[in-house]
Symmetry: C2
Subunit: 241 residues, 2 copies
């Protein structure tokens, strides 16, 4: 494949497998969930958010290229911030606060679904253990995130009276960060993946990452929508005790 | 041990095992080496310098504490800089440039001693694989570095006409960075190592790190001082071809 054919193949994966297609997101954005279900989404997704700097540091740890390390370091800054209370993780906690969840409970991850935690740790391990090229490629879901974020912010603001623009501040920041990150990572894989084996590995890495995101929504749907089997120990929305 | 007893035990390790005691450093600082031997030191030590951000990112990747990640991230900034040409690794390359070494050759690490590379990678792996507490403790050689740096800069400037204050700029930066880093890491291990097992692991981690530094000087001594057995493929100073 030429680099542009590789990009087209990556975009096809997004069009078929990105989690904006998942029924849970359609319910979330369409205002079809109750507050307890939105709480469950937010506290599970905290597991994912809070693991991202560990994933990004794992990638930095694997490259001998100072320039790649410097560029990727910005992701640590974006998520952890310059000081306490700043950065993407803190903004995510503003969302869970706004939803009325206890912050210590969210941060403890005690109420998160086991399937969420397994999927998130599979992602961290993938970046630690696979090739650097695959590690970079696994970040490429960012290519598709501006679309879902726009839908999400508009849909949630319109449909839920317990959601405000302030509590969705996380997504505003991502609207500028994600395209910058995705442009860099896409240029990297287009440049570095030259053999059929490398290009296949890049495509498989993006499919893997789509699976990581999708599996989290499957678990939410199963526990909190239908059949509604909340696993032992997991968060139970008020009224479902 | 109380926290202060633990600190005293750590300082005893430094007094007995830190590489300022190694004969190679005495020769280096005392002006007893020729330019080829100083070149060998600088190009081998580049392997160590260039691995430090991978080591630090590995530590960041292992902690779920955003505050620890933020504090430790400063080490990435110190070594990799904000942009190309800045940071500790770039300053190390200014030293190897000043010594007349070809930069591409230094960066390729082709001329480095195998024992150097093994020791450096043992350090990176230690931080990836041991407990977070041990990973932090292994950085504590910084407690002892200001002393050796002062000796080194004064000794090298006085004794070698091929060394200038500019080429030693790396060490000036470290004189402020190292104590800040060491203070943080020392407070961390004094706070976190409470059981005898944890305190033993902290002491062993510092001994391990002293071994990593010492082994690099043993290898330099063996190859370039006495008996002078330069391994196949390693850097050969001009005149020893």
């Amino acid at each position: 494949m030429t680099p542009d054919e590789l990009e087209a193949a990556l975009r096809r994966i997004g069009a078929e497998r990105y989690h904006n297609l998942h029924p849970f997101h359609k319910l979330l954005h369409g205002g079809k969930l109750n507050k307890g279900q939105v709480q469950a989404w937010a506290l599970n997704r905290y597991c994912y958010q809070s693991a991202i700097p560990r994933k990004d540091a794992a990638l930095i740890s694997r490259t001998e290229d100072p320039e790649l390390r410097r560029v990727w370091r910005q992701r640590l800054v974006d998520h952890d911030g310059e000081r306490s209370g700043e950065g993407g993780i803190a903004r995510w906690l503003a969302l869970t606060d706004g939803l009325g969840l206890d912050r210590d409970y969210v941060v403890s991850m005690r109420g998160a679904l086991p399937a969420t935690k397994f999927a998130v740790e599979a992602y961290v391990r993938f970046v630690r253990e696979r090739s650097l090229l695959e590690a970079v490629a696994s970040s490429l879901t960012e290519m598709f995130s501006p679309m879902i974020i726009s839908e999400r912010v508009a849909g949630m603001l319109a449909n839920y009276d317990f959601i405000s623009r302030e509590t969705l501040a996380y997504f505003n920041a991502r609207l500028s960060q994600a395209p910058r990150d995705a442009d860099f990572a896409l240029a990297y894989v287009k440049r570095e993946a030259r053999t059929p084996e490398q290009q296949g590995a890049v495509l498989a890495a993006l499919e893997f990452k789509c699976d990581v995101l999708w599996a989290q929504l499957d678990a939410l749907y199963s526990a909190y929508v239908a059949p509604g089997h909340i696993p032992p120990g997991a968060f139970r929305p008020a009224g479902t005790e």
